[in-house]
Homo-oligomer: 349 residues x 2
């Protein structure tokens, strides 16, 4: 390896003092623009890198952000994690930051890991996913003055003010209803999760409001829906009961797991029901399942921006998902008996 380039080399090259180089690195705001440019050029030309650990002691910034992943085995519970995490890593790297992973099975464990990580001054902040009602993590971080942003709204706490980015689930199910209504469907049912999950309630609301705007009565809207746990196995019976009771021609599903169950049940019954899922999970494309795709790369980039750049006021960003139309709602033929189209048509709500 070559001789390490030092602060002194940079100072000599830029014809400034050591202190000025240090200021450019640690307090760039107090350095004149022309001087800063000259020092930055010298840093670039010499390939100088302040020793990360020493720099950390001076600036108290590690350029590392924490992100909790669920315990292994729970991977399928959060099908969007991987794409979001890859996009977050990319966005961070563009800004000179890294993502440090840790894992926690519960909110209490996650807060305990925050303590561990912050105690060592290892992290500059956190990106949180999977916010939920009564989430204790955000209040802990706020109380301890730790920069953070959540991918997910402060469900049930409309008065809570912190940075967040979320996907507009209601806009997604509304887009699904509009797509199905354009194809002539009127009896458009919904199968969701039990009331109380912010994400699930939001997705149901979009469907319900879109039906109300199309003249459906409150009674019809109350009637044309059912709930289920979020797995292919658990959803089969509730889907079948809903289909037999309501006889819909189209079904909007709260998730792709539920939509896969709906594809199976309709295939068994020989029922011609258009189906739209949510999340565009890896299973959707091979099954020809229409679904709503979350803009995860944009969500990750916006999260990073909010946690890195201090703002006077909390910022909230709501992004619309894109409806991906495939055979399950695009043609009269049943997707399980036919290949999906080789290209996707992409529509934003």
């Amino acid at each position: 390896m070559t001789t390490r380039v030092t602060l002194e080399h940079v100072a000599a090259r830029a014809s400034v003092s050591r202190q000025t180089v240090s200021n450019v690195i640690n307090s760039p705001d107090i350095v004149k623009a022309a001087t800063k440019q000259r020092v930055e050029q010298a840093i670039a030309e010499l390939g100088y890198r302040p020793h990360a650990a020493a720099r950390q002691l001076v600036t108290r910034r590690s350029h590392v952000l924490g992100f909790a992943v669920p315990p292994s085995g729970g991977g399928t519970r959060y099908p969007v994690d991987s794409a979001f995490l890859h996009a977050l890593t990319e966005a961070a790297q563009r800004e000179g930051y890294r993502i440090m992973l840790f894992t926690a099975g519960t909110d209490a464990e996650e807060i305990s890991e925050y303590r561990h990580l912050l105690d060592g001054s290892d992290l500059d902040g956190f990106v949180l996913a999977h916010t939920h009602h009564g989430d204790p993590r955000t209040s802990w971080l706020a109380e301890h003055g730790v920069p953070f942003v959540t991918f997910g709204r402060p469900w049930g706490h409309p008065d809570v003010s912190h940075h967040w980015v979320d996907v507009d689930g209601a806009a997604g199910t509304r887009a699904a209803v509009e797509h199905l209504a354009e194809a002539g469907h009127v009896r458009i049912a919904f199968i969701g999760w039990p009331t109380g999950s912010g994400v699930g309630d939001d997705r149901r609301d979009g469907w319900a409001r879109a039906l109300a705007e199309r003249g459906r009565t409150a009674g019809e809207i109350a009637d044309w829906q059912a709930v289920t746990l979020d797995s292919v196995e658990a959803a089969a019976a509730p889907v079948r009961a809903l289909l037999e009771r309501v006889r819909p021609t189209a079904l909007v599903c709260v998730s792709d797991s539920v939509a896969v169950a709906a594809l199976r049940v309709t295939a068994q019954l020989g029922a011609d029901v258009a189906i739209v899922g949510f999340d565009d999970a890896p299973v959707a494309e091979p099954l020809g399942l229409s679904s709503l795709r979350q803009p995860l790369a944009e969500a990750a980039a916006r999260c990073l921006d909010l946690v890195l750049r201090p703002r006077a006021e909390p910022h909230q960003v709501l992004l619309a998902p894109a409806l991906i139309v495939r055979a399950s709602s695009g043609t009269a033929r049943h997707p399980l008996a036919t290949p999906s189209p080789t290209h996707e048509s992409l529509r934003t709500p």
Copy 2:
């Protein structure tokens, strides 16, 4: 927050000098066992944590390992990444280590990131995935004396000696053939990737050897196979051509993407062909696709063990995948027309 516990507090509690506490933290081997135990107890009781950055300057260990994720958008290319990464994060956390993510689209970019990361002394080592023929990353790390382990063999370099953990693809396809032969199948074909990918060649070899052991001729083995690119769309035509040419009653597929194409083609043709995929991707369970599941949690734990604990000799660990039998090879009925069994039977080769 409470007053920070210092080295002095620990020394007083354990009735030892500051230097002894420092030795227990940084050079535990030179401290007598009884003294070490007393100091460790005091550390635990007081909740003492040496400031991570200061400790890093002293010990030059950050307790952080690097792991490269593919750029976003390439997420589906490596369906096993997410589960492996979650398991690696968990295993690391149990040992007081964290996983730091970075991203790189090519080997050259990945090596460039190694430089960046090591230049800042941020990392103690790397865990690499997706080894391949002529992989320049491992030789770069070895030349620079950086601890690392690969999840994947040094394909094409049997003389290369470094720590690695891999899944025995040949044992997996052999198990698939044995499972199909037990069900009475003789004409068991294989559809793989073009020759030259270590993983793909290994999976084909297991199938070929199992057929040879069952008395198939070299000519039959050469004839009963085809290659395809790894996507559902690309595989449809090669699968159809293989089925029409060889008329197999069973088909072992190099991946679940190829197996999904095979499910579609056989459904279209109305052909009764048993199908086994590889990787147990998220799509396999909903489709009732039999597949080979890599033991990713164990692989992650073994990788961590190899990179953290110095050994005189390079260690190699080869793990067997588990055959998950579902409807695609478990019954005569076609899985696309029937629900998969609600429970899985798990068999190890």
